[in-house]
Amino acid sequence: MSQRNDPHSDAPELESELQAAVWAVLSKPLDADAVARVKARATNAQDEHSRDPINLSAQDADQRTISSNHRPASKYTVTLPAPFATKSFLAKCLALATGIVVIVGTAFMLHSPESLYAEAIDQLRAARSFTYITHIYTEGNTKPSETKTMVAEDGRRRMELAGGTISISDSSSRVRLVLISDAKRALVYDQDIPQPKLPKHDQLAWLENLKAHGDKPDKELGTKLLDGRSAEGFVAKQGQYAYTMWIDTESKKLLQVEHEMFAKGTSITKVVMTDFRFNEPLDESLFSFNAPAGYTVQKQRPTPKVAGGEESIIEALRGYTKRSAGKFPKSITEWGDWAVLFSADSKDGQPNEEATKVLAHLGSILPFLVSRSKDDYQYLGAGKFLNDEHCIVFWYRTEGEKYRAIYNDLSVSDVERKDLP
């Protein structure tokens, strides 16, 4: 049993997968507002107790020991851990998905029926640099995670995620730098090595589609109060995508854009964009591809080119089942299983070349699915194995009434609708 190099702990080193999970838990910063609320309520707890004093019985006194199985606590001195310092393994954990760049397009078409709408659209069309906040809502959680996005005039993009990770992309939407703030670690993606061109559906595709489209919404929602401001709502549709927009009736500024998740099999239920700021000066340093001073730099293996689409689904599943004794993953759009499984392949914080390729295939799946209606595909591999009786693990509609099916032996064929599960 080895010892950690931590003067405050003599706990054994964990196996790599478990260590990765521990650091994933530790990587989340505390919510300072929540701590302040705890302090406020705790302080009031004494006042409330004073107003309604409780005469402690002998039983209550015993509660000091918390559990009847525990002896009363003896006085001792606890050396408090320093404000937690993450370690390089955090970077290793977060670097496991090297090679995956998943850009989900949010095509956005706006129509402008009236001057209010038209002015908001014009503002978007005239935008050169801009910032906004994306709120991601997921099943079972009322509070969303938030990402702040900043876009420079030349198209470089900076995303600041809730966990303290910052990603900076070039004007072609290729990630160039990932900063892990807690660990002071910088993951650098080589600019000189040709990177695969990303799928057409980019997070900012909505803006380009807006500029190219007409000026009438599909539906008007009327007026409501939004964050204390009078806002008029509209729904705009483009193919299978539907966006709800709210525009400030006084300032005529865009207040909020909302849409559901465009792919099945994820836990995301709703995406809301707010706090739009257009053409405000943005410091050049925000978009630098150079690691800040004090950061440990780790060069990342370049993202391999992958075919995308059906081929990538097959190769991703092949790579997964190779490591899982033939068992298919629960999902091809939620990456938890993949993270745990591929963590065993990491060395010095990066997966090996073969694993990187598999993860690149995985990363290309979501854009492929987002480009389709949710009714036009289905992943059925959860709980299935390679050596099960011949069955379909994934199907999708190609065009018209033509379908393709991937089987549990990773073969693929054309099928008819009636043959689908």
Binding site: E15, T43, P81, E334, G363
Partner: protein, 167 residues
């Protein structure tokens, strides 16, 4: 000079609130739930403060926060969910999503351990306390801590194996 046994309540809160919240948050993964547990912990603690000197506020709060958070987690009987502190966008850097899923898995698995193992694992790896410190907090022997920790690690590793289909 106030001693640790009979400090001003405000000082107690100021000194221990962040730790209580942190412990609960690491175990539960939810800011909302961590606040609820913190409220319970301080409500219990204020009764004790009113009843007389507390021998060790640090030990009391660490123990209460850990056990109450584990209690809440078991009552919720969550499946592998992400706390709102974990949820990230699948449209952002995948590294973030990977970490979030790992954190959710570990919280669920750790909170399903026997209570003592869950508490010890959380205090050792989430709160980064030493074996002797944990032993004093939970009023058990350091050897018991080591044994329980070993069992917890073995069980968690086997769960990862099951998770990966390596049975």
């Amino acid at each position: 000079m106030p001693n640790e046994q009979s400090p001003d309540w405000g000082q107690v809160v100021e000194r221990h609130a962040e730790r209580v919240f942190r412990i609960a948050f690491r175990i539960l993964g939810s800011v909302h739930d961590a606040e609820d547990v913190s409220q319970v912990v301080f409500t219990e603690a204020v009764k004790m403060h009113a009843a007389g000197p507390v021998q060790s506020w640090t030990g009391l709060f660490v123990r209460l926060a850990t056990l109450r958070a584990i209690d809440l987690s078991r009552r919720r009987r969550r499946t592998v969910e992400l706390g709102e502190g974990d949820r990230v966008s699948s449209v952002g850097p995948p590294e973030e999503a990977v970490g979030a899923e790992l954190a959710a898995w570990l919280r669920k698995a750790a909170n399903e351990l026997p209570e003592q193992q869950a508490a010890i694992f959380s205090l050792i790896y989430f709160e980064q306390l030493g074996r002797d410190e944990v032993a004093a907090i939970l009023a058990i022997s350091p050897e018991t801590v080591s044994t329980a920790l070993y069992k917890a690690r073995q069980r968690l590793m086997s769960q990862i194996s099951v998770f990966n289909g390596e049975r």
